[in-house]
Symmetry: C2
Subunit: 426 residues, 2 copies
């Protein structure tokens, strides 16, 4: 970029960085992401799921009523326009200013979609969504405000086979991109809640208790006890839980025995056993007694995928049997599993992931006096072997080749030579 | 969906329709769109262009300063959050309420991206963007508020070979998806403006004159004269233009002879001739003396693709040599071509477009007492031949098969039979 046009240095008037918490994706990373997302989508489609898409924006009232837990505080709100904005400003009520918001996940839009379109969809409906979502997180490392999720959901099937199939397909999608060594952790919120209630915790404190209980692996029974005491929960209940943990018998049998409905535990046992058999050693399946997941809308089984390379979950999901009913007026069983695409990509990139079988990227350099259609014709020939970009040759060729290598090219070809110069072989 | 779970009819509390001007995409249409977008991207990539992506949201100040013409009135603005919102509300200035907005095209984000990342990019940079953009249009048929564009741009090359390559690649992308019978119309804003100024129109009225001149084909020389008179433009200039049109000699030679800089016309002639030669009869290339394009940021050559099936353009672009300088402080030549993906898809769908070589979609039906892993194993076998979705068999099989056919399935297989029932062959 040092020749061919004039540099007229002026003061820039516009900001060139992407907004905080959002990212520009450079060609190398975008190519890798397209490949990985494409492979995940391929596994999803090959398993009989069908992709849909919904708008990035949803009605603000719907978002407000959506049981999204903490995510409700993280919605980017879009301002009304024209007369409606003027009138909202006049009202003095800030809530009136916005009529739509950017979606914080793909589950709420899917529920709305299903209610609007169910007569045109197969029953049960096995659906794919791979797309961007938005959360107004405090900008900090690892917390993006715009990111991609890859979801599959089964709507209209109350059988635990729906859970089994989602686990099978999601795990195969991860294996298909070379992501291995992971564990699918499964629980049922109702079992955990049942046990905690039986110990004497009040229903409206269960979420808070679960957050502490979920730290069991890190802080131990004593740590759990201390944190619950700090939260000023009933001493008898805290002692009951601490004793139960300290006894070292936190198995599905022991937890389920404290829960009223045995059918819930039977379904969980079935999903654990069947998923484990189908995994056939390619990944682990485990009962995780403290698993809850953050969203308020889950009603039954919940699951997430963890791996040693990352402290949080790389995928998560669960059953949300009540959400579609809010749109449709009739209850529809629903269960979904979402891959955190950014996290999976990040881990693969750290491992030096390469796209299998990708052609080497080279530049075909030409001088400005040459016949341009002939340049494009030569490029077309070279494309049998290489991924070829046509670029004008700079006056300082050595410098240009250095820049090309730095920006990810593997080599260069020239209009007047037959050989292809591969940088690594220089 | 009539069995297996209870219908508890209640009053829905949430709205199920997508927001006005935005669309839910059902599986059949999404599959087709994924295929078409994938094929366009394949041609772009195979031509040595590289995909990037940028956030859906941009800084509100950048958007305000972006020379986007009418599109600036169509920006969805995102409200500030927390303390910043409170303070903005206190200021009484509605302009303070928003700090970011949804992008209205992919050209402004690309220019910002290039300025932020140019040291990591090849020079010139040949780039792909395929993604969603947003415009707060008045909701009406055919005017979407969220839609997909497929863009290629060349940044850092001032030679008209950049225009030639963009036209070649864009046209091949359209041919690659079976879109034929189109014309690439080309003009240079500077030639048109030069001619109009030579006739006596003032510089600040040229945009308005161009809008009228562009209707020449529809309303004729008399119509153009009448409309310009109504706009109260100088009578001598109006007569000069009307006489010129009436003489029926609106060729590049005759227009260029009225423009001061002959190099501009030479470049346009070169692009027209070279693109026409490379088209080799597969599509038309034509000089369009009235073509301007709406965006304020174009500085030189502009082009668009038209076809008999649609009254507007299905692709458009041009050179915008001044935009990157606003971010970078140094002028960088830039030219881009954007396919209006929604319009192209719409036309192909109306023509009954089918994905070449797609497998037939069938359901594998199973009864609830069967071993579920065995169902998934049979599905895996059938997938060599079919696109298979596993679904529980309903009590009323005939009704279920009818529903499957209505929702796009080609047939059904059963766990207890070897045959596959294809609906069309019943």
């Amino acid at each position: 970029m040092t020749e061919g046009f004039n540099f007229q240095k002026e003061e820039p008037t516009m900001k060139s960085q992407a907004l905080k918490g959002m990212r520009d994706l450079l060609p190398a990373e975008q190519t890798l992401r397209d490949y990985i997302q494409g492979k995940i989508l391929e596994t999803y489609r090959a398993s009989g799921f069908e992709r849909i898409s919904t708008p990035m924006l949803e009605d603000m009232e719907n978002l407000d009523k959506s049981d999204g837990g903490d995510n409700l505080n993280l919605i980017f709100k879009v301002m009304k326009r024209g007369d409606k904005l003027t009138s909202a400003l006049g009202s003095g009520d800030p809530k009136q200013l916005s009529d739509m918001g950017l979606r914080y996940d793909l589950t709420l839009p899917l529920s709305r979609f299903y209610a609007a379109n169910k007569d045109k969809l197969p029953h049960p409906f096995k659906v794919i969504q791979t797309d961007r979502v938005f959360r107004a997180e405090r900008p900090q490392k690892g917390r993006l405000r715009e990111f991609v999720q890859c979801d599959i959901d089964i709507l209209g099937d109350e059988s635990p086979n729906a859970e089994v199939e989602l686990i099978d397909v999601t795990a195969r999608a991860l294996l298909g991109i070379g992501f291995t060594g992971f564990t699918v952790n499964i629980n049922d919120r109702r079992i955990l809640h049942g046990m905690l209630e039986s110990m004497g915790f009040a229903a409206d404190t269960l979420d808070s208790v679960c957050i502490t209980f979920d730290k069991m692996d890190k802080i131990g029974a004593e740590g759990v006890k201390a944190e619950l005491t700090e939260k000023q929960l009933p001493e008898a209940a805290i002692n009951a839980l601490a004793d139960f943990i300290a006894a070292g018998d936190v198995t599905l049998e022991s937890v389920a025995s404290r829960c009223a409905d045995p059918a819930i535990a039977d379904d969980l046992k079935y999903v654990l056993a069947t998923a484990k058999a189908m995994a056939n050693g390619r990944f682990d399946v485990a009962y995780c007694p403290s698993l809850v997941r953050g969203q308020g809308y889950y009603t039954g089984m919940v699951f997430e995928i963890t791996c040693p390379q990352f402290s949080g979950a790389v995928a998560g999901g669960g059953r949300y049997d009540n959400m579609i009913g809010k749109f449709l007026g009739t209850k529809v069983p629903a269960v979904g599993f979402s891959i955190g695409f950014e996290r999976v990509c990040g881990i693969l990139l750290e491992q030096g992931y390469q796209i299998p079988g990708a052609k080497q990227k080279i530049a075909l350099l030409y001088n400005s006096d040459v016949d341009f259609p002939a340049v494009l014709a030569k490029a077309a020939q070279l494309r049998d072997t290489y991924n070829v970009t046509v670029l004008p040759q700079a006056k300082k060729l050595g410098k240009q080749l250095g820049q090309l290598e730095a920006s990810g090219f593997a080599g260069a070809a020239f209009m007047d030579k037959d050989e292809v110069k591969i940088f690594a072989q220089q």
